[in-house]
Amino acid sequence: MKHDYRLSIIMILVVVFSVSSLFGQQPKQNYGKATDEIFPYQRYQKAYKYFFLEPLNFYGAGRDKVAPKDLNEVRIAFLGPLEGSVIVSLGKQMLQGATLAIEEANKNGGYSGKPFRLMIHNDVGLWGAAANEVVKMDDEKVWAFIGSIDDIVSHVALRATLKLEIPMVNTGDPDPTFTETNIPWAIRVITDDRQSAYGLVNQIYKKDGHQRVAVIRTGSRYGRVGIKIFSETAVRVGHPMIIEERFMEGEKDFKTQLERIMATKPDAILIWGNATESALLIKQIRALGFKQSIYGSDRVVSQDFLKIAGSAAEGMVSTCQYNPDSDNPKLKEFRANYRKRFGMEADVFAAHAYDGMNLIIASIHKVGLNRVLIRDVLTDRKTFQNYKGITGTKTLDQTWNNIADIWIAKVNQGKFSFTPAVPMDNKQRISSKSADY
């Protein structure tokens, strides 16, 4: 009998736990993988409303729309900076990555014997031009598109995407607010600046033990939005940045800003900007005799930066959305094919564009030529959840933002070396998600 009771208790426990996992709420992770320590207001006040707890569905019509039978090609669009922008070199890498994915898909027979065709659109940040490009894509009857790198362009395209209902896969814009707009027509496969900021805060303040960190950033939206999360997070861990200086894109002499920074006697400096300005800055900082740590944003992880900065870059630490030196055989194959096809090394934008385009192609193979169904399968967080791309595993959160782990990149003997960023400690999680009003 004793044996019976013990067995009964075990059975009850098994049933209770299995049923609670069926009907009960799974422990919720804070939005953006934020610890309670760094989640807004969490230590002082529960919010009345928490957004992004559940993914939004698209409730509009269109799932029963049949594709035209007279198609002789399957169009997928590209939106990226190809001319008239300071980040054209990044745009060209992105285009090449997307092109390689299309060419490989066509070698494998396209879609039901019809070739994929890339419809190329240049983006310009001025006067909302990206909106006009998305309208052109609709006129061209594309099934989906990838884009872009510039955050202004990506936002403008995103709003037009909702209106015109074209699935959008973002492969190069790490602006956290992009997916925080709640538009159920876009996913992002590149890890965002929120993760980069958390990684940097952990590295700078908790691992490296700095306390007086000065920041100099680009005045563009990339700098403004990127530094926001870093700044807020730094405050929440008890270390507000001691000074925030700005520079314009294309600026070459930073003497005035650096004089102000040096006057604050920082024990580390963080640069948030494009590769060229960041490289010039680090040279000028070292020339002033500053020997302590210098950190940078993700765009410094490039050959351009290493070339311009030279030996001044030694020891600089940044973040990267993937590990280019990974042993992943698919990544190695991609890099070899890319080198052969385009005569250069693939960068982060090329690799993510390749992954993003392959996701679109896989979606079309899965559900056919219907924009809503392509959207559905891209966003269902089942079919492609934890998709193994060449840039790593793609884990989409409730906003369809990739929250895969970030990498720390450090310049060592003229090259970047990569190690996984250590996640923040999350011992003080707050379980409840509702406030009493």
Binding site: D4, S20, P40, A47, G128, A131, H155, T177, N182
Partner: protein
């Protein structure tokens, strides 16, 4: 012996099975008990669906409205739906505007005009700059129809379409998300900024982050009221422009965070705004995160968990008198700030219901709160509502799959 062992084993398994089943039932009951108030009210409401449409309306009494009177919220029924089968150029309708005896509908494939029971379509062949018609307004001064398309702005006057675009005018961007007429002025919301066109002087002004308190120049809605223009700026909340003094003021979410609304009623619920509408001294602001109302002093927030709002994802709002019509992705909601009526279509047939939520007395939310479902046959053509307009006893709704016209039920 085998029989005895089998019997014993069977009994043992039956006991375990009973324990397991009991636990499952217990957990199910507990989990049902933990469902949201919405789910509970949904269950309760099912008993109210037997009444006929008219009988249900006759039994309905709404609570006091914003002005404090006892005028009930209007309820519309006898819905008539229109699709391509009825003459629309596309099932995907972006906007609708009632202009006297005509109804103007913007669709993905052209402008549709309903007059005397017939639809007439206008496209680029007739002079429109683009077939995708996103927004329409009619000038109260001239009667001209201003049409915002995916590829430029058009003024339809005297049977002719005059096109304004980025190349031939001061239009900030060719994709017009919203156009409104305010006396002699025409305002447009675009991703390149807000545009103002003076029809007398023929001059354009553009407002962006360079000359207005916007975070970005991305504007998606605009409305006018009491000498002011209210611009819905994506990521920048609402920009208020006083026409007389030419001064700006911005309203943003006080907590400054995208992932939360920290306090109820402390300001606009989110900075990603989609539309504004002003009437009766109240500014209504829609977002993809909920609805806000501003009376010039206080903000009030509305979410789908704390009122009768169909969904927090709101495409468009239009206020008429004390009532605001809210186009959400899960039905059309109407409110005066206290009582709610939401029109929803069933998933599997053309019928649906009007869900009526009354909060009773204005001074006490707990008294006389009631929910009712009025069956509608047919209902609106689709729950993904994008545009709305009301005039007299008619309510027109533009949806993801057709256009609907409802009749005010007496």
């Amino acid at each position: 012996m085998d029989k005895i062992i089998r019997k014993f084993t069977m009994r043992k398994y039956l006991r375990y099975y009973s324990v397991m089943l009991g636990s499952v039932i217990l957990m199910f009951v507990v989990s049902c008990g933990n469902r949201t108030p919405h789910s509970n009210s949904d269950q309760r409401n099912k008993s109210a669906t037997d009444n006929s449409e008219q009988e249900a309306v006759e039994n309905y009494h709404a609570g006091s409205d914003l002005a404090g009177d006892t005028k009930p919220l209007p309820i519309y029924g006898n819905w008539h739906n229109f699709t391509t089968k009825d003459g629309l150029p596309s099932d995907k309708a972006y906007c609708v505007r009632i202009a006297g005896a005509r109804v103007l509908v913007g669709t993905h494939d052209g402008l549709a005009v309903y007059e005397k029971g017939k639809w007439t379509t206008y496209t680029t062949k007739d002079g429109l700059p683009h077939n995708g018609v996103v927004s329409i307004d009619v000038s109260a001064v001239t009667g001209d129809v201003w049409i915002g398309t995916l590829g430029g702005l058009s003024c339809w006057s005297g049977g002719k379409f005059e096109t304004f675009n980025q190349l031939n005018s001061g239009l900030p961007n060719d994709l017009i998300y919203c156009v409104i007429c305010d006396q002699k002025d025409v305002w447009v919301a675009t991703a390149g900024g807000a545009g103002h066109y003076d029809t007398y002087s023929k001059e354009w002004e553009i407002f962006t982050e360079k000359n207005a308190p916007m975070h970005e120049p991305w504007t998606y809605g605009v409305s006018a009221g009491a000498g002011k223009i209210y611009i819905a700026a994506w990521g920048g909340g609402v920009i208020e422009y006083t026409s007389k003094s030419k001064q700006f003021k911005d309203y943003t979410d006080p907590d400054g965070e995208m992932e939360i609304d920290l306090l109820p009623d402390d300001g606009i619920v989110h900075d990603v705004t989609t539309a504004t509408s002003w009437a009766n001294g109240y500014l209504w602001v829609s977002t993809y995160f909920g609805l806000s109302r501003y009376d010039g002093t206080h903000w009030k927030g509305f979410f789908d968990h704390d009122c009768g709002l169909a969904s927090n994802f709101i495409n468009f709002v239009r206020a008429k008198g004390s009532v605001v019509f809210v186009c959400t992705d899960r039905g059309l909601s109407c409110t005066n700030g206290r009582s709610w009526v939401t029109y929803k279509k069933n998933d599997n047939n053309k019928d649906g219901m009007a869900v009526v939520l009354n909060y009773g007395r204005a001074d006490d939310d707990t008294k006389n709160k009631s929910t009712r479902e009025i069956p509608l046959s047919p209902s609106i053509s689709h729950n993904f509502t994008i545009g709305v307009d009301a005039d007299g006893d008619k309510l027109w709704v533009a949806t993801s799959q057709g256009v609907s016209c409802g009749q005010l039920l007496k």
